[in-house]
């Protein structure tokens, strides 16, 4: 289980490590949505996404012996950078298992934080097996991307800050991938304000949590084909699903085109660079998916790691 106090403990550990990102308002957005919208700009977070919150919180709770031996993580995305950066902050070391066809910019970013990269062929090799082997051979501890109570508690700190800064809200809108951010956010929001609506957003192609909630059990979908690479998980985590099942009120879906429109809105009006997953909450609002529209809405803009060249492609019509 994860409770509010775990999130508060994580917040204390993250003090001075993670940025307290700003909560941004836009009257244009308020007018379009017909509500007061509070945007938690986690794209301005260190390493460009909320992921440092969970990764660092889990990492920092390892024993001195574990820290000395280092960690291993598998991710082609924001969790990789978050673990690499956390290793540097903690004076530990990290091995990141990444697909050999990862974008050079992502490999460079992870290497830039001083982590060791082990590449694998995503069509012929099993990354979890590689991780287990590395863990056994070299005594490394695995830092999972979402399905761990310390990771979930860390991710919850984004919503804790949002509610501290914005005050009571009627709803929070949170991207759902593996479910770590959604689970941590739901624990915080429902404990502080039991009547709050917790709304998760998934890409249409990756609606595993929507299906799982409908079925009452974890359902796998085919590997999602979506521009929202941060939400391309085929099945909810075990622990995250046990929390979202209890605390998330609804899931709404957004299409890739709607994500692009939301990214455009963010660039045009908010002057923020969002990666597709980072724009999914905004897309839910702009497309009118929330009915009835809550009066005061918090939205986690979860990340901005898209890269200038890819951003240019996605913004072009």
């Amino acid at each position: 289980m994860v409770i509010l106090q775990d999130v508060r403990d994580a917040a204390a550990r993250l003090d001075g490590i993670a940025h307290r990102t700003p909560v941004i308002r836009s009257r244009t957005l308020d007018d379009i949505v017909g509500a007061g919208v509070h945007l938690k700009a986690e794209n301005l977070q260190r390493a460009g996404a909320f992921k440092i919150r969970g990764a660092y919180n889990a990492f920092s709770r390892l024993s001195p012996e574990q820290l000395a031996r280092g960690v291993v993580a598998f991710s082609s995305g924001n969790h990789a950078q978050a673990v690499a950066l956390s290793a540097r902050e903690l004076g530990s070391s990290a091995v990141i298992v990444m697909p050999e066809d990862s974008p050079a910019a992502k490999l460079d970013a992870v290497r830039g934080y001083g982590a060791e990269i082990v590449v694998y062929n995503r069509y012929t090799e099993d990354r979890e097996k590689i991780c287990r082997r590395l863990a056994e051979e070299r005594g490394l501890t695995l830092i999972p991307p979402y399905d761990h109570p310390h990771v979930i508690a860390g991710q919850g700190t984004a919503t804790l800050e949002l509610l501290e800064d914005a005050g009571e809200l009627d709803a929070i809108v949170v991207p759902v991938g593996g479910g770590g951010l959604a689970a941590g956010s739901a624990v915080v929001a429902k404990t502080l304000y039991p009547a709050i609506r917790v709304i998760g957003v998934e890409p249409e192609a990756g609606d595993d949590t929507l299906r799982s909630l409908a079925a009452g059990e974890r359902i796998a979908v085919p590997i999602p084909r979506t521009i929202a690479d941060g939400q391309a998980t085929p099945i909810p985590g075990e622990l995250t699903f046990s929390i979202t099942k209890r605390l998330v009120d609804e899931i709404v879906l957004v299409s890739d085109d709607e994500l692009r429109d939301a990214m455009r809105f963010a660039a045009d009006r908010l002057k923020l660079v969002l990666e597709p997953s980072g724009a999914s909450g905004l897309a839910a609002l702009l497309t009118g998916r929330l009915a009835p529209v809550p009066a005061r809405i918090g939205v986690i803009l979860s990340g901005g790691n898209v890269g200038a060249a890819r951003l240019a492609e996605l913004l072009a019509r």
Copy 2:
């Protein structure tokens, strides 16, 4: 003259109107520059640029009679939106004189704030003459874009906030167009910290202030051809130049390519959308134009009104 107290008065008037924009840090940027850099994100300001500060401050000091009659302003850019938004906030009205070939997005934005637009042909008509005629015929008051003490005092509030949030700095880096932001910033910075270096940045093609400071008098250059449309002024203002001459320590120049690189850096690493002028201070840092490098540097990221389509063009290689 403009003194610190004028800026403090402006800050009080702007309370609840202008956003207190965040000061953003980036360790990546600090490492590249070899300094502690504090970025004042005025691209996140209302109407997308610092201009609301000066426009609203000047506008709000008009008499009830003047407010009832309304104002006139000429601008194809951020000042137009700032005056239009200020008119709405003050329950007054604004006529904006804009080139007939202005981008539709800019015309729409001004119209969206409820202002009346009068278009002119920039090759055959004199916009100042049109403004004077409108002012006489309809009793409108002109809100100038930079050369007015209330405008300068308003713009200074950005640097006042920056220094309040960041503490003492060794240098501030400020884009220079007509000179309103630079003059207001210099008044604040030099009064609070007399030893601070105030560094202005101009586009290479629009080096009128650099030339004017070298000559000791206002020098006009041909209409600058630069992507930095916010700094495409051919001659410093009279009042602004009398202040920059006294308080600005140096001017550095950046090329259009360097502005594009800085915009790319902002999108890649800071997750911020900057318009070319808004990136000029960052460009000065990234290109190593500041020698010796001050230990603690404040930079005004002055605006982000570039539009998603144009942004995509400028980011593409």
